[in-house]
């Protein structure tokens, strides 16, 4: 009897696996097919709009930045003209964690997902899986080759350009070092390239790519390198300290992720390098804003995460009603970055605190 049960279980398992394999190899459509599939779904929604859609917003990590985005997403879900259920997920464990969350959301039967992919090139499979079962859009970091219906965010290359120009304004030449959490994700690469091009006064070209390990000597600046830390803050701090020791004449640093800039402020203060080493910062770390107000940081380039969250939910909700009119022809809904300097730092900070509070309280 036991043998019979085992045999039956094996047969079921084998056929399930076989079916799964056959299904996955048969249905592995290219991005274009999946976009068409999603558009068909939206067209069907036009005839029969989804009553109360359930959409999700998935970040690429955990940070205050994403708390603000959450506030935007939840606020959009609650607003009268949108009215849908919103789930917000913050993967804290990197790629694997994000993949698991996306899979779970799809299994849960989510109608649409806005995701900030950590590594778009190598996440093609999971993004395709989402597009097969739900509506897929990206935010913050784009995955242009994935079957996403649109991208919401700023162009990271343009934001990098702003940061580079900030550095160029405040530092007229000399050695420059770049610090960033990791370079795998699209937004990191583009932001770094934008910074380099903006600093060196090059003609903007988002397709340009300078290797991270090469020293760039151009326009009176020497970019000594790019250092990554895989989000280990002790390592990130050590990187800045070590580079300052190796290059005592360092003139400018940039931290292209929020904590890189915060730690750069910390190291500059600890080594009494205020005014000697300039910082062109990124994002809205509390210490960075305080240092801008004190006057020893040139400024910071900030995004609008609240807008990313709000627009994501708004667009996905519209899709579920059969409306694609919010998406421009190029598929990019641009929410531009802005520069915070000494003169607008205080007003920005107050507004930010209110949004963070709203994000924390959001349920």
């Amino acid at each position: 009897m036991n043998k019979l049960i085992s045999l039956a279980a094996l047969t079921v398992l084998g056929s399930t696996l076989g079916f799964g394999f056959a299904a996955s190899s048969a249905t592995n459509p290219v991005a274009g097919d999946l976009i068409a599939l999603q558009k068909e779904r939206i067209a069907a929604y036009k005839a029969a709009p989804k009553k109360r859609p359930h959409v999700a917003f998935v970040s690429n990590g955990v940070a205050d930045f994403w708390t603000i985005a959450k506030a935007g997403a939840i606020a959009a879900g609650k607003s009268k003209e949108i009215d849908c259920d919103v789930t917000v997920e913050f993967p804290g464990g990197g790629l694997g964690d994000q993949k698991r969350m996306l899979e779970d959301l799809v299994i849960k039967g989510i109608d649409g997902i806005s995701v900030s992919p950590i590594d778009p090139t190598n996440q093609a499979e999971v993004l395709s899986m989402v597009a097969e079962k739900a509506l897929l859009i990206t935010n913050d970091s784009d995955a242009p080759k994935a079957p996403r219906l649109c991208y919401i965010g700023m162009d990271n290359y343009d934001a990098g350009l702003l940061c580079g120009k900030l550095g160029r304004e405040g530092c007229k030449g000399g050695k420059v070092a770049i610090f960033i959490g990791r370079l795998e994700q699209d937004n990191a690469k583009r932001r770094r390239q934008g910074f380099i091009d903006g600093l060196l006064g090059r003609t903007p070209d988002a397709t340009r790519y300078d290797e991270p390990n090469t020293v760039i000597n151009e326009a009176g600046y020497t970019i000594v390198g790019t250092w990554t830390d895989s989000f280990d803050r002790a390592k990130a701090k050590a990187n800045i300290e070590d580079v300052m020791i190796k290059n005592p004449d360092l003139a400018l640093v940039t931290g292209l992720f929020e904590y890189n800039s915060t730690l750069a402020v910390e190291v500059i203060k600890q080594n009494n390098k205020q005014g000697k080493v300039q910082l062109a910062a990124f994002d809205e770390g509390a210490d960075v804003i305080a240092a801008i107000k004190e006057g020893f940081v040139l400024g910071t380039v900030v995004q609008d995460p609240y807008g990313y969250g709000f627009e994501s939910v708004k667009v996905l909700n519209a899709f579920c009603k059969g409306d694609m009119s919010l998406v421009p022809a190029n598929g990019i809904i641009s929410i531009p970055a802005k520069v915070i300097k000494k003169e607008n730092a205080e007003a920005f900070w107050k507004d930010l605190k209110a949004k963070i509070k709203a994000g924390k309280d959001a349920k």
Binding site: G61, V62, A63, D64, T67, F90, G92, G93, N213, W227, T228, D229, F231, D232, R233, A234, K235, K237, A238, N239, E241, D242, V243, I245, K246, P248, Y259, T262, L263, E266, Q270, N271, G285, A286, D287, A290, K360
Partner: protein
Amino acid sequence: MKRALGIIGIFVVILIYSAFFAENFLSGINLMQLTTRTALYSILALGATLVIVTGGIDLSIGSVVCLSGIMTPWLLIEKEWTPWQAIPTVLAIAAFIGLCHGLLITRLKLQPFLVTLCGLLLYRGIARWMTGDQSQGFAGEFDDVRAIALAKFTIPGLTDYRLPATVIPMVVLATVIGLFLSRTVWGRWLLATGRNESAARYSGVPTARLITLSYVACSLLAGFGGMLFIFDIGSAQPSDFGNFYELYAIAAAVLGGCSLRGGEASIVGVLFGVATLRVLQNTITLAGFSSQIEFAVVGAVLLIGVAADELIRRFAARRLERVGAAASH
């Protein structure tokens, strides 16, 4: 001390290489920062050593670092506790975590790997839930408290180098643990427990109490280390703070001559193990190597160090056997 000779040798070789090829390696400020980093990681490695000596392992060190490191500014800034309330509370929680590990391992007879693996997930999860996944920092306050890790003492005659305050707990802890292991009955019992727990127990050694004590000390030091790390860094994110720090601590202990089978330890070796890993990381940046190669270099040095140590030990044992055999003839 003999046990530490291998790692001291490796350390000296790396030091000589760095002195010649890593720009500004010997500058006062670089040595000062290296001392700070070595001291911070040493506190974790000393705790790991006490557990490894018993033949156990603590995989939760990084998560305890995270929990205590995150809790400190959270209590001070968000909950507005005074340092006199916050610091003892955080340390007590860390010690309690160690007590739970010890009791689960000795009373419930659970595997140390399993207990501390669960701890690794549990404490980070608690830190993330407690803070709502928000990064925690001192918001420009409590500079006097942060001075525990950030203060530097001037040494007469030296202009560039000032002694970091973190050296004090490192030296005190290393001395106390070193003396405990080599000069006290309890220390010898701890080593005997690691060598052969059953034999030690039948000889009347209170093995369960000693093993529990070692886990309490390990978590307490991880908690203290986490607090110093956050004082040094200023802010941290619960989802990534302290990730893999248990591996750095265990690697330094093993590199320093501790056997993962238990019963063997060298506190001097552990300190050199930590220093070697820190100097390697520093040299990779200063000598202009790509930072992507760092883990590969650390892994290779660790492997070479452990393999060399094992070969030297075998060679010494064979030589001893030969000498013994010659003497008996």
